[in-house]
């Protein structure tokens, strides 16, 4: 072996090694780019789903009641022993409430418009209200006129809210689609919130009931239901729903709202 031969071989070997190194670097770069691309698409899709499933945060700022309640809120702990009991009670009440609705249909009073809309959505059994004497109580009690201010939704804010909700029409559609597929609590409560923001109270009631059927102990469904009733000037219904909830569960938010409604009477 002479010098020439050796160095020629060395030169060739180095060239091949450099090629191999470049190949490895290229492969690593490709892998890196693919990983980054996948990560970006993953996070983007995740953000989209979060935006779709939670249309609340932006509009929530405009809904005074909701914001107020949120700030005060702490998660309450569920009393396990009462779980089954509340469900049974709820079922009993549902039948009675449906009877009441039939009577309400016959009763041609000033609330015709409200009922028409409500009948469209109240075809399901009502979960939050269990008071069997609801109808009688309605009769016996004098309706308290609630000043417009008591529903703490300033007009300007409502306008903003409406603007925002029109922007998320697709979101409502997608939520409806999702609910049809999975019938889950998150979709139902999101739809209740969305409709409350749009001041569509019959729909709010409808979706709050759906949500409360899915998770009876969650206070948000009950609060939305009560607020919607309150907004419809049905203070008694709101109070009854909240006090029924407080019989079996404990929630600061519900308690405060109940006190507020009682004091407004």
């Amino acid at each position: 072996m002479n010098n020439m031969e050796f160095y020629e071989l060395e030169k060739k070997a180095k060239r091949i090694q450099n090629k191999r190194l470049l190949k490895v670097i290229f492969i690593l770069l490709v892998i890196l780019v693919v990983c980054v691309y996948l990560l970006i698409t993953f996070f983007l899709s995740k953000n989209e789903t979060i935006e779709q499933s939670v249309p609340k945060p932006k509009s929530e700022k405009n809904v005074t009641i909701a914001k107020q309640e949120k700030n005060e809120s702490k998660k309450f702990e569920l009393v396990n022993e009462k779980k089954d009991f509340s469900l049974k009670k709820s079922e009993n009440s549902l039948e009675k409430v449906s009877k009441e609705k039939v009577k309400m249909k016959d009763n041609k009073n000033n609330r015709k418009n409200d009922l028409k809309v409500q009948n469209n959505y109240d075809t399901i059994k009502l979960s939050p209200i269990i008071d069997t004497n609801l109808h009688e109580n309605n009769k016996s009690q004098n309706r308290v006129k609630i000043p417009q201010n008591s529903v703490n939704i300033p007009e300007k804010k409502i306008e903003k809210t409406l603007n925002l909700t029109t922007k998320v029409l697709n979101t409502e559609e997608s939520l409806l689609k999702r609910y049809k597929v999975s019938e889950d609590y998150d979709s139902a409560i999101a739809l209740a919130r969305l409709n409350f923001e749009k001041r569509n109270f019959p729909k709010t009631i409808f979706w709050a009931k759906k949500a409360s059927k899915l998770i009876p102990n969650d206070d948000e469904a009950w609060i939305l239901y009560a607020k919607a009733k309150f907004a419809q000037n049905k203070v008694d219904d709101a109070i009854k729903a909240l006090s029924f909830y407080m019989k079996y569960y404990n929630s600061n938010k519900v308690e405060k709202l109940l006190l507020k409604y009682r004091s407004s009477k």
Binding site: M1, N3, F6, E10, K12, A13, K14, I16
Partner: protein, 265 residues
């Protein structure tokens, strides 16, 4: 003292049965050949494998091992005339060969002579035998007197085995493979240590051996050529005080691979 120049002599391409490396494939083949020799009713054995995997070496080794118990005839050059082959058998037995006798007489006589003798006839590179020569061997093997061990290259051997007159015969076939990648380091080190090159043997790591195995595909002949060339390069580096090649490294191995044409890059 690292005497690479002397160490390279170990790896010259010559069959040296004084050093046997007990690779898995070789051990298995040895066992099969021994079993075949002791079997009475199977007259033919075929050893097939790629060139350089150690078929001829094994044949020589077995012949050497059984030589003291059996009469062995070894044909490493298969180009013979029918009568030449019989002459070889006569001479191996120590008989006088009369060229003037006709072929059938000679054949019958040799069958009689070999009938009561323990013997094995080894034929290397049998893929080079002509149809006519194979026919003669077939006729002799049908007498159940002679035992033949053939080695053949894999591809050609497979074709020969498909021939009708071979296919229908009782035979034993064994395929020999090269070294497994995990056996290469042991082979290199045992070759060097058995020749008192302890220091050079210690220069090889598992990683080096795996690379050599990859370049050579486990082929004995290629491994030997590889190691021969490696010793030449190491010797050159030592004599020219090239410190970067004092130890075996990937560049040096690649240089050898390039020189032997074992890399496509």
């Amino acid at each position: 003292m690292r005497d690479f120049n002397s160490a390279k002599e170990i790896f010259k391409d010559v069959i040296d049965t004084s050093f046997y490396f007990d690779s898995l494939s070789a051990e298995f083949a040895k066992k099969m050949i021994r079993d075949f020799i002791f079997q009475k009713n199977v007259p033919l054995m075929f050893m097939i494998g790629d060139p350089g995997v150690g078929k001829s070496y094994l044949l020589r080794l077995i012949e050497k091992e059984i030589k003291h118990k059996y009469l062995t005839v070894f044909l490493d050059n298969p180009f013979f005339d029918k009568k030449d082959f019989l002459e070889l058998l006569y001479k191996a037995k120590g008989l006088n060969f009369d060229k003037d006798k006709n072929f059938n007489d000679l054949k019958n006589e040799i069958i009689r002579e070999y009938k009561d003798i323990k013997h094995v006839i080894f034929i290397d590179e049998a893929q080079l035998l002509s149809e006519e020569q194979f026919e003669l061997l077939r006729i002799l093997s049908d007498t159940k007197v002679f035992k033949f061990v053939f080695t053949m290259h894999k591809e050609e051997g497979k074709e020969i085995l498909k021939r009708k007159h071979i296919k229908s015969r009782d035979k034993s076939v064994i395929e020999i493979n090269g070294l497994h990648k995990n056996e290469v380091l042991r082979y290199i080190q045992s070759s060097l240590i058995s020749n008192s090159f302890m220091e050079i043997a210690q220069m090889f790591s598992k990683n080096h051996a795996l690379k050599i195995a990859r370049y050579s595909s486990g082929n004995f002949r290629v491994i030997k050529r590889f190691l021969y060339k490696l010793m030449v390069l190491l010797d050159f580096a030592k004599k020219n005080s090239l410190k970067r090649y004092e130890q075996i490294n990937s560049t040096l191995l690649l240089m050898v691979a390039i020189d032997l044409g074992l890399t496509n890059e």
